[in-house]
C-alpha cells in the first residue's frame, strides 16, 4: 500500500474535561472513500473538525494528524490557512446556512481560488465557472452572480461541492452532506461526489449516520460510538460479517421492521378520511407593481380515502406538497377547493362543535422532537393539551389518570409528568409527542416525518410504537415521509406525491417492488438500502 495521504494517530478531543473522542486512528490512501459512521454524539463531526483544525477554541486536542507528511497538529494558523481549501476541503451538513447570504456564489468560489493561486479576479471567476460546470450547474443556466437564496437546497449543496473541489484538494471531508436533502437529491449528490473522487483521485472522508449511504459509497469504514472506534476496516467485510454488537445493532435498526400481529387485518372498509378534489393554491399578493410572482399550487386536485385502522404512507420529494396536504387534513389551513371529510364530518362546512369532534378524532406528531413542545410547560400540561376537546368535564384526578395512561402506553413512567421537555432525549420526546396525540383516543394520527430527526436505533423503537398503536389499538396513521424505509416498515398502503398530485397509490410492498410511475421509480431507486448495496458490491 502506498504512503497514506492522511494519517491520524491516537487522536483525542475533550471539552472542559469531558472526553468526546478517544484514541482515534485512521489511514487514508489517495482516491480512497472512507465512511465514518456513528449516531449523534459519537464524535464523528469532531473528528472532521480536528483534521481541518477547526475545533472550537474551548476544545483540547491530543494526537497526530499527518497530511502528506505535514504534521497539522504542530502548524500555526497561517500555515493551516495555506493548507485549508487547497490541500484539504470540507463540505457541511446544512446547505441552507453554510453559504454567505450576502455574497454571490461566484465570489464565494473565487475567494478560495484567489487565496491559494496567484490568479487575476477574472481568471478566478473563470475557474469558478469550470468548478460549477463540474457539479452540473452550468454557468449558462446558473450564473455566478446569483446569491445563495436564489438556489434550492440541493443546488446549494452542489455549490458547496464546487467550492470545496475547485482547487482539486487531495482530501475532501463531507460531514453528513446529504442529511438535509430528500432521497432523490441525496442520490444525485452522492453520485456527484463519487464522480468528483473518480475524476480527481482525491480521498474522501464521508461522515454519515446512515449505513445504507455508506454501504454504497465507501471502500473502508469506521464505526464510531461514544467517541471510540468499534470497528474499522474494509467496508464490505465489516457490513457483511457485523462482528461487533454495535455494528449489528446499527445494521438491524436501519432495516428494522416491527412485529405485526394483524397488519391492518382489522381495517374495515369504511372511509375514515375522505378527500375529494382537494386544491390548495397560495396566491401571490396582488400589487400594482410589475413582476409579482405567480400563484403556487401546492396541492393540485387530490382525492383519496383512508379506511378505518389503515396505516398509509405519503411519500414524495421535499416541496411536493405533502406537508401542505397534512395541514389541510388537520384543518390547520383552509383549502382553495375540494373537501376533506373526517369520520363523516365535512371540515369545510363544520360548525365549531363539529370541528371539535373532528379534531378529537385526529391528532398529529411532528418531525422535530425539540420544537414540538412549549419549553415552559411541564409534560403533564403538554400531554393534557388536547383534553379540552373532550365534551365532558373531567376532574383533575381523572385528567391525571388519563395522562398516566397515555404515558404508560408509550412506555414512559407516569413519574415524568412533573418534568420539563428539555430533560428528555430525542426519542423520549417523540414518545411524549405520541402520548399527547393519543390522549383523546383519536382514530387517525397524522405523522409528519416522525422519525427522520432521530438516530437509527431510536428510530426503530419509535416505529415499533407506531406499529403497536396501529396494530393493537386500530388507530389509522398517515405517515408523511421522504424515507421509503419508514414507509416500508409500517404502512400497508402508499401514496406517491409529486408536484401537488398523487401520481401513484397501492399496497406498499407492490410500490416498493414494482413502482409504476416515473416518480415512484425515482424514489425507490434513490432510497439507500443496505442489503441491496451489499448485494451489488458482493456481486462485483
Amino acid at each position: 500500500m502506498a504512503d497514506p495521504l492522511l494519517q491520524v494517530k491516537s487522536l483525542s478531543v475533550a471539552f472542559g474535561g469531558r472526553s468526546v473522542l478517544c484514541g482515534f486512528d485512521l489511514d487514508l490512501a489517495p482516491g480512497e472513500i472512507h465512511g465514518l459512521v456513528g449516531e449523534s454524539g459519537s464524535g464523528k463531526s469532531i473528528t472532521a473538525l480536528s483534521v481541518m483544525r477547526l475545533l472550537p477554541r474551548n476544545a483540547i486536542m491530543a494526537g497526530n494528524i499527518i497530511l502528506s507528511g505535514q504534521k497539522l497538529e504542530r502548524l500555526g494558523e497561517e500555515h493551516l490557512n495555506a493548507i485549508r481549501g487547497d490541500q484539504m476541503a470540507m463540505i457541511f451538513q446544512e446547505p441552507m446556512t453554510a453559504l454567505n447570504p450576502v455574497q454571490t456564489i461566484g465570489d464565494q468560489i473565487a475567494e478560495g481560488i484567489r487565496l491559494h493561486r496567484d490568479v487575476s479576479p477574472a481568471e478566478a471567476l473563470d475557474m469558478a465557472a469550470r468548478a460549477m460546470a463540474r457539479v452540473e450547474l452550468p454557468p449558462s443556466r446558473y450564473p455566478l452572480s446569483r446569491y445563495p437564496h436564489e438556489l434550492s437546497g440541493g443546488q446549494r449543496q452542489r455549490v458547496m461541492i464546487a467550492m470545496a473541489t475547485a482547487l482539486k484538494p487531495k482530501l475532501l471531508i463531507a460531514d453528513e452532506p446529504t442529511t438535509a436533502l430528500d432521497v432523490v437529491l441525496q442520490a444525485q449528490v452522492l453520485k456527484l461526489l463519487r464522480t468528483v473522487v473518480d475524476d480527481t483521485g482525491m480521498a474522501l472522508l464521508l461522515i454519515s449516520h446512515d449505513l445504507g449511504v455508506v454501504a454504497e459509497m465507501a471502500d473502508s469504514l469506521t464505526i464510531l460510538q461514544s467517541g471510540q472506534i468499534r470497528e474499522q476496516g474494509n467496508a464490505v467485510s465489516i457490513l457483511r460479517h457485523r462482528k461487533h454488537a454495535y455494528t449489528r445493532q446499527l445494521a438491524e435498526a436501519s432495516t428494522h421492521v416491527p412485529q405485526w400481529k394483524n397488519r391492518g387485518q382489522q381495517a374495515s372498509g369504511n372511509a375514515l378520511v375522505s378527500i375529494k378534489n382537494l386544491v390548495k393554491t397560495y396566491r401571490s399578493k396582488r400589487t400594482l407593481l410589475p413582476n409579482s410572482p405567480e400563484d403556487f399550487t401546492a396541492v393540485d386536485d387530490v382525492s383519496f380515502d383512508i379506511a378505518t385502522g389503515r396505516s398509509v404512507g405519503l411519500v414524495g420529494q421535499s416541496g411536493c406538497g405533502k406537508s401542505t396536504l397534512a395541514r389541510l387534513i388537520l384543518a390547520l389551513d383552509t383549502p382553495t377547493g375540494g373537501a376533506v371529510q373526517i369520520d363523516g364530518i365535512d371540515l369545510g362546512t363544520a360548525d365549531q362543535s363539529q370541528l371539535r369532534r373532528a379534531r378529537r378524532r385526529m391528532q398529529v406528531v411532528f418531525q422535530d422532537p425539540y420544537g414540538s413542545f412549549n419549553p415552559r410547560m411541564r409534560v403533564e400540561k403538554i400531554i393534557a393539551e388536547p383534553l379540552h376537546l373532550l365534551n365532558r368535564k373531567t376532574t383533575l384526578d381523572q385528567q391525571r389518570e388519563m395522562i398516566a395512561d397515555a404515558l404508560r402506553c408509550v412506555s414512559l413512567s407516569p413519574d415524568v409528568m412533573r418534568r420539563y421537555p428539555h430533560e428528555f432525549s430525542g426519542g423520549q420526546r417523540q414518545r411524549i409527542a405520541i402520548a399527547r396525540a393519543i390522549i383523546t383516543k383519536p382514530k387517525l394520527i397524522v405523522c409528519d416525518e416522525p422519525v427522520s430527526a432521530l438516530d437509527v436505533s431510536i428510530r426503530a423503537e419509535i416505529l415499533d410504537l407506531f406499529a403497536e398503536l396501529n396494530d393493537e389499538h386500530g388507530m389509522a396513521c398517515l405517515f408523511i415521509t421522504h424515507d421509503l424505509a419508514v414507509a416500508r416498515a409500517i404502512t400497508q398502503e402508499t401514496l406517491v406525491m409529486h408536484r401537488g398530485k398523487i401520481v401513484e397509490r397501492g399496497p406498499t410492498a407492490q410500490i416498493m417492488d414494482s413502482p409504476q410511475s416515473e416518480q415512484a421509480q425515482k424514489l425507490v431507486a434513490a432510497a439507500p438500502n443496505l442489503e441491496r448495496a451489499l448485494k451489488k458490491r458482493l456481486g462485483q
Binding site: 419549553p375 393539551e385 384526578d397 412506555s411 413512567s413 432525549s425
Partner: protein, 307 residues
C-alpha cells in the same frame, strides 16, 4: 374512574428517563443561580439601592430640602453633607434622594404605558397577521418618527410644562418599541411546531397567545423593560433639564443639572452629584438587563446543556 381513562393495555417495557439538567424549582433557588452572573449581581444590587433610596425619601431625607440655609451654601462634599450643598445651602444628597423618586416614577410609569399598550398590540399583530398587522406596524413606524423630546415639545406648547408631559411623551415612544419587540418575538414562536400542535388541539388564537406565546416571550419583555426603564431615566433627565419635565418646587436629577449649569465654575459638585446618580442608575439597570439576557437566553442554556 377507569372508564374515563384511556384503557389501553399497559406496556411492560418502561423507558428509564435520565434527567439531564435540573430545572430551578423555586424563585429563591433561581435567584441564587442568577447571582452567579456578575452583571446580574451588580445590576440588581445597584437597582435595589436606588429603589430603596427613592422609597426612603418618601418618609425621610437627611435634610429638609424645602428649607434654604444660605450660610451653608456651596459646600464641598463632607461627612455632614455627603455630596455637598447647592447655592441655597440645600443638601445635595437629600436632593438626589428626592430626585430619584421623580426620575424613577416617570420612567417606571412610562415603561408601564409601553408594556400595557404595546404588548397586546404586538401580540394581536402577530396572531392576526394580514392587514391588521400591516396597519399596526405602519402606525408604529409613524410614532417612531416622534422621539420623546418632540412629543414633549408639542404637549408643552399646548398644556404648559409638567412631569405628566414627560410621562406621556416617553410612554408614547415606548409603545411602538414594545409592540415591535413583542410582534417579532411572537411571530418566531408562532412558527414553532408546538403552536401547530396546540392548534391541532383546537385552541383559539387568544388562548394560544396566553398559554404559549406570552410565557415564551416574557424573558425578552423583562429585558426590554429594563432597557426602556434606563432609557426613560435618561430621557426624563433630558426633558427636565430643558424645562419640559418636572417643575419647581418638585425636584429631579435633570432639573438639578439645569441649576448646576450656571454654577459650573464655582460649584462643580452640583453637577457631579445628580450626574453620578443618573449614571449609576442607568448602569445598574443596563447591567441587570444584560445579566437577565445571559441567564435566560436559550442559546446559553443550550450551550450549558450540550457542554
Amino acid at each position: 374512574m377507569r372508564g374515563l381513562t384511556l384503557g389501553y393495555g399497559v406496556s411492560d417495557r418502561m423507558v428509564t428517563v435520565v434527567s439531564k439538567t435540573r430545572s430551578p424549582k423555586t424563585a429563591w433557588s433561581w435567584f441564587i443561580h442568577a447571582m452567579r452572573n456578575r452583571s446580574f449581581a451588580v445590576g440588581i444590587t445597584v437597582t435595589a439601592l436606588v429603589v430603596l433610596m427613592a422609597l426612603v425619601s418618601i418618609v425621610w431625607t437627611p435634610y429638609d430640602i424645602t428649607k434654604l440655609t444660605i450660610p451653608d451654601r456651596l459646600q464641598g462634599p463632607s461627612l455632614t453633607h455627603l455630596f455637598g450643598t447647592d447655592h441655597f445651602g440645600r443638601d445635595l444628597f437629600s436632593m438626589v434622594m428626592e430626585g430619584s423618586r421623580n426620575s424613577m416614577s416617570v420612567a417606571l410609569i412610562a415603561v408601564g404605558v409601553g408594556l400595557f399598550i404595546g404588548v397586546p398590540l404586538g401580540c394581536l399583530a402577530a396572531a392576526k397577521r394580514g392587514w391588521l398587522d400591516d396597519v399596526l406596524m405602519r402606525g408604529a413606524d409613524v410614532i417612531f418618527a416622534f422621539p420623546a423630546l418632540l412629543s414633549a415639545i408639542m404637549i408643552t406648547a399646548i398644556f404648559g410644562p409638567g412631569a405628566i408631559n414627560a410621562i406621556i411623551a416617553i410612554g408614547i415612544f415606548n409603545i411602538p418599541v414594545f409592540a415591535r419587540v413583542t410582534r417579532g418575538a411572537a411571530l418566531a414562536i408562532w412558527q414553532r411546531e408546538f403552536i401547530l400542535a396546540a392548534r391541532a388541539a383546537g385552541k383559539s388564537a387568544s388562548r394560544i397567545t396566553v398559554e404559549h406565546i406570552l410565557p415564551n416571550i416574557a424573558n425578552l419583555l423583562v429585558v426590554q423593560a429594563t432597557i426602556q426603564f434606563s432609557l426613560g431615566i435618561l430621557a426624563e433627565a433630558g426633558l427636565s433639564y430643558v424645562g419640559l419635565g418636572a417643575q419647581p418646587p418638585s425636584t429631579s436629577w435633570g432639573r438639578m443639572l439645569a441649576e448646576a449649569q450656571t454654577m459650573m465654575g464655582i460649584a462643580p459638585q452640583m453637577a457631579l452629584a445628580p450626574g453620578i446618580a443618573i449614571i449609576a442608575t442607568v448602569l445598574g439597570l443596563n447591567l441587570l438587563g444584560d445579566g437577565l439576557r445571559d441567564i435566560t437566553d436559550p442559546q446559553t442554556e443550550n450551550l450549558a446543556a450540550h457542554g
